[in-house]
Symmetry: D2
Subunit: 491 residues, 4 copies
């Protein structure tokens, strides 16, 4: 049983930017009703500010087309529909510029089931025109005040050959330079970043990129990278089974990038946005749907702000097609929400951390964060020990001298584990209405509560892979005239 | 640990008419938004066919008015609005004719906070005209096919002096005779019943009523009475604290009435509708909000059909004003739903028994009912023993020879007990949005599941006052290509 | 044909506070679903900031009660439900303190079908305690920042014997003094006003009130009065048929009050809020449902801001019971919306004037107001001439030198006149679904549009009692590749 | 002025099956939110029974896939989602089996922007397995009672080389034979038809097909074909501008097919379903959005039942991609609803004819149909004369001897012509919220009404391309006590 003492007067550094941004499957999927319902659920209960995904310029959005006479023309019908939907849900695009429209591409290499072209433009002037036209259209439709607050990122993971032909560093730098000026020409208030690299081999990439930006005096606004925290998975049939990285190494990559950035006079302290993170980088990893994933992410959310301005969970939902259309509701997709609008355990990790936003941090440990909002204390706790665990919070005088109501929301393998219920239904690929209803009914945290009268300490039990949200609110028992709770039970 | 053997081939007598009718606060409250939201919840999850309440002719509905020159005129504005709302929710009125419009009344005696006049008409012609005009209006608006299927009951509890001036038996019989003919004159397909009596002193009342109907050759269609199963409560401040009747006496009153009816050649086997039942007859009885109430009602629902054609729970929701406006969300109202649209434990007792409708009964014990729907077995179990309890179901060959998925929904003092959570919040009279959210989140049954492979028996544990719904559905584990549930957890 | 020249550079004084506040039937009706639906419609399409109605302390809200032992207790269950509903619709209470709870009253005089007690408190300490408890409760629930922005008015029309026993001036002043201090004691940021007087005999009342406030050094924040602009109506059966006041006298009463206020050094320029206005002061005046009313109100909305800080239309909807429950959908209620959620012509007068909010006034005539919002011009026009009429707008150079799209919304006796359609249905008291659908379908403004290419003037035709909203937006015809509108028609 | 006499006693033959089926863009688009919203609008206001579209087996639905080891596997995730959505909207699939999954195809020929493979299977066993697996899955999920009522059609327009490689007649017959048995093997209650041919060159095709079915003794259930009624269009840029066929030839093709079918003893009288019809066969024909189209379709709907069991309008909405993603809201798509959920004039032609369903036809002329439902008369009228027109209905005695209310809904170039409003906005590709609101507000029929007292005839005026719906309902003017409509206006 660990014991932590809460001192309400010493405010700790805890940069909790959990709700800044979230990832999404290719933008074309944002036209789907199931996508919208999942995002609606996420926005109602968590509420992210930005959303980032691939495929802005993919064929299915139909933005960039060429007439028989060779003229380029733009079609913003779907982009408008998608963006209207986002704004309706109070979320905004974090614009990732890519991949390459077929009619502008220099080659034929494609990525994913949905066939994004990952080759450089055959003519940078056409690419710049596309970027400019798209942003100008958005500005015209939604207003410059609004749109210039949408961050702009150039391409995705150009350090990987699958996402950028030959992982051609020099070509990416060229793309970056062309693009940043194309964007700033529309409105110099746009904030632009890159290089959106991913993985362990990125050190020289980042240095080269920063050298380039410095040497070319590019008006870089922020730096981006990705973070996945598994070892290479074993494959079985359609699915992958990885090991998680040890907690002590989980943020090595972002720490490394931070260190590199801060070595430059020009970039020291510059915002670094982790524009993708998750445990596994593969959308067919059953781990994603487990309580273990939820607990591991709690650890991550307690640490990531130390080096990064934001960290965008990849992805909010399971309407996703990179490896094809999912065969079953629980297929190990990235989503916080499974298809059928069923929240996964990780959904609540994000909801609980969102609850902490705005509070002053008064405790931060490897398995627990506590913040204070006036008289109210809010805590998230998690258990990655692999066995039952207890955490004792020693309450500050302000709490121990008066009456409090404590409410606890629990997500663990018994109380909120839709994967298990689905398994016990026989792992059906098609859910009946009744099965769906039961899964949704199950997929909510267990709620318990208690009245605390001048208690000096509170012990909280956590089962393996549990994540709990605990709230202490001043409350006095005020029974109505003649109401007696205990007597109500005796009949 | 009790053990029951399920024999799928011997069909037992179990007349489960749980969803025939439900009670409501005075009809004027049906104009309220909160009322509608609560009824919507009830209809979505349970789904009753009829709804019965007092106050059709009360002043707040404004149906019957007198102009300065003495003319009577009718105003159906609110009646239409209420009835439209009911039909929108797929529920229909069980018409209780009463109480007396002030402009028709012979006296001034009133009942309830909302002041229903309970005196006979000063002129039966005016009363008959009101009844006729109201029914004709409904027929004109909704069609005779629809409206003549709405049962009609004459007055409420005329054997109690509070509901009918002096509990004047002869005067009630006169009212009944006048009214039944007033109704049948509109359309003889209307089905009319009474006398809606309540309590232990009703034996001679019922005999006198049946004698009267027989002697006057009245076209009686069904007989009605009420049933409450508590001893006289102790009062404390605003609230009452009764003892429940022993289970073995719980249905004595309906058995008694059934016996009396069946003594008459003319009425033997006639439908008896219990047009109100609950444990306590008072809407400020904290017992109503407990898990004990839910478990006691499970017992009642397993028995009531033995003598009664239907039994209407009093009431669906807590928008109710007989003893004034409730001071707190959990004030011991009759409702299945607490104000704020929070289901109480009893809500799920009804939902679970509704799930059994349409099945063939294969087991009926004092703490358990099981039905079969094709290959699927559905059970409700409850624990009124005051201590932990186990029930073993010995499964029939059809189940024990193959694979089944078992899902269990549990309502007990830990898993679905909003009264307790509210108590631990300090018993607030005004709920914050956050408190309301937590209470609703808590007020759902716990869901667990399991795969059963050729099992001969299943043991179910029940905590005190638990009610469980268990469903056995044929299911085969069909993992997708490479999916391994166990391996997903090991990362 | 009148002709007006728009000069975009000379900004005219036009204090358009059309959406500051709107009236409502007694607060208890705010519990109704139909009320909420009507208010939702109003808020979605017009959007008022405050709502003011009678009956805060009436019995049906059940706020103030006395136990058998004489103790006073408060019940805020319904007040919370109502206020939650208002905030959900983004509207806030303009708190009118009154009438008198029966348990505090000194007498038995009542007003309205719903029986508001209009006598002074028998003990001012109890009254002050009620006021204090109510405001403290609201502050505790919704926060002081929010609640202290809700204006507070003391009683309603105390200069009329029907609303305040004997129209006792001295007693009202006492009430006012007690109340203003009771309010300011809770939080001195509350803004308090009175005397909410009504009618032509109010001159000495206002002077006496101001004398009293000055002499007693009361912290008065604003002054309130009412304004109805009809002559005494002729009565026929249930309904009243008044004549409208000539336009030139329509605002005489507010002008008079303004003059009196400005005679006091202490109160010169103080905000005067017209907390009720309409044509007729009776909710059974068929005039309310006509296009004439809509046009007359357009005139009023163009003038009322000259003397008054705000002017609250009495009332938003027809869920209203002062003279009893309405017998038919079109019964001459005050509402902008008829029962069944059917907008009346006046609804659109308010919607059109709301469209003008935020613009700079560039034209203000007796039948026309034009504002400019950047490049966009917005106009409301109306016709009270009793015959067809044309208005020519001479467009400013900024318009006449480029392309504009003009859209016109028309409400007149042909295009948006649900009263007439209902009449032609036979004036049914109960609307079928089909009738309701047709009435709603009809009750929308007619929309026409045109492209204007370098036009110097535009003529607009108005039928009698028409109200039109005209908008000029810069627009260039931009046909898609090969699209030819004219050719589309020739097939 | 034409004059028609209504004789309520002579019932005319009018097979009005307007709502049997409607077309849709490729099934994959049914995942879209905009698609669902448009279909919801259509179902709420019109209500079709079946929906038919291409692309069931297209890659975007992902049903048929091949693993690396060559095994075929099926994925019904999207098919379930789509079908659930249809059933939620109370519409059912009319199953068109096609096109060819790439992994089963014998060639590479594709059709449409969305690349449907139109080659025969390389192995009919694989095709039959796919058909069987799909239907068995649907039966398992939705029940055999439900699913065997979904008609099945084999392929689409195999007589056109674009839709079936080389328009290979013999190969189609083989496909048909294989498929009909594959379907009937799942459940012989399935009803199967073909050949879904289109155009003027189909005579020998149909005969050959019927010969084949007869010779092979195939269990054919119905025959299908398509019908488009334009001449070959002129092209300009992206758009096509056709001429409509003369009315007298509009149904020549269906008459011809009917005649051929009836020449066979085996097939005489067999159901012929027109599984697609419209004026133009191209989704970029501005004609589709006009009032002319609406009026022409009214003529078609009055005639098509003469030879055909049903006739499915191609298509319900403009979420459609055969020629690419639409560039503007009004681009001449097939839809009854434009993107943005704006009903086009043709929407109301269907709504009006749906209103006639269930009535007995008492008048059928080239510009007018009247039906009787009890006491109510319902008429649709249209004007294809190119100039103003009047139609006089001579009313039957039952009407002319009593009081009636007449309501008229008008769709013409002034009253419901969103294309024109959009043109006058400048033909914007992206609609602002305000523009969308105005377009929707405009796109409803104008409603007028009148009371008819013992009238012998009624004259209705129709502007060019007008479609009107007129309803005569018995109604008596019943003014409330003292209510005087005329006096209400005089104030």
């Amino acid at each position: 049983m660990k014991s932590y003492k809460i001192d309400p007067d010493s405010v700790l550094d805890f940069r909790n930017n959990v709700a800044f941004c979230v990832g999404t499957g290719r933008l074309g999927l944002a036209l789907h009703r199931e996508y919208f319902e999942q995002l609606k659920l996420v926005q109602e209960q968590i509420g992210f500010r930005y959303i980032r995904g691939h495929g802005l310029f993919n064929e299915d959005l139909a933005i960039c087309q060429r007439r028989p006479d060779g003229t380029i023309e733009y079609n913003f019908t779907y982009l408008d529909r998608i963006t209207d939907g986002y704004l309706e849900l109070n979320i905004r695009p974090f614009l990732e510029l890519g991949f390459m429209p077929k009619v502008l591409a220099s080659g034929e290499q494609e990525v994913f089931y949905w066939k994004g072209n990952v080759t450089p433009p055959r003519d940078y002037a056409e690419w710049n025109a596309l970027v400019g036209a798209t942003l100008r259209h958005l500005v015209a439709r939604y207003g410059a005040e609004e749109v210039t607050n949408w961050p702009v990122e150039v391409w995705n993971e150009p350090n990987l050959g699958g996402f950028w032909e030959n992982a051609d560093r020099k070509e990416y730098f060229k793309l970056f330079k062309e693009t940043i000026f194309a964007v700033k020409t529309v409105d110099e208030r746009f904030r632009v970043g890159g290089p959106a690299i991913c993985g362990v081999d990125d050190e020289s990439w980042l240095r080269d990129f920063l050298d380039f930006c410095r040497d070319e005096r590019l008006p870089l606004d922020f730096i981006t990278r990705h973070l996945y925290t598994i070892e290479f998975p074993e494959q079985s049939g359609r699915y992958g089974y990885p090991k998680l990285r040890p907690l002590e190494n989980a943020t090595d990559e972002t720490k490394g990038s931070r260190k590199i950035i801060d070595e430059y006079d020009e970039f020291r302290g510059m915002e670094m946005h982790v524009t993708e993170f998750n445990t596994s980088y593969s959308p067919i990893t059953p781990l994603h749907d487990t309580n273990l994933n939820a607990a591991y992410l709690a650890f991550m959310l307690s640490k990531l702000g130390d080096e990064s301005a934001s960290y965008s969970y990849w992805t909010f939902g399971d309407v996703f097609e990179e490896q094809g259309v999912p065969f079953t509701p629980f297929h190990g997709g990235f989503g916080l929400v499974a298809n059928g609008c069923i929240p996964k355990p990780a959904f609540y990790t994000f909801k609980f951390f969102k609850n902490l936003v705005g509070g002053e941090c008064v405790l931060r440990e490897d398995d627990c964060v506590v913040v204070r909002c006036g008289d109210v204390y809010k805590a998230v706790m998690w258990n990655l020990d692999g066995e039952d665990k207890g955490i004792t919070l020693e309450l500050p005088d302000g709490v121990s001298s008066r009456e409090y109501s404590m409410t606890i929301e629990t997500v663990d393998e018994n109380s909120c584990n839709p994967l298990q219920i689905w398994h016990h239904m026989g792992e059906p690929a098609s859910l009946s209405k009744r099965q769906l209803e039961l899964l949704r009914q199950h997929a909510v945290p267990d709620v318990t509560a208690g009245l605390i009268l001048k208690a000096r300490a509170i012990g909280i039990e956590l089962k393996p892979n549990a994540v709990k949200y605990v709230e202490f609110t001043p409350a006095t028992l005020t029974p109505d005239w003649g109401f007696d709770y205990g007597r109500a039970q005796r009949a």
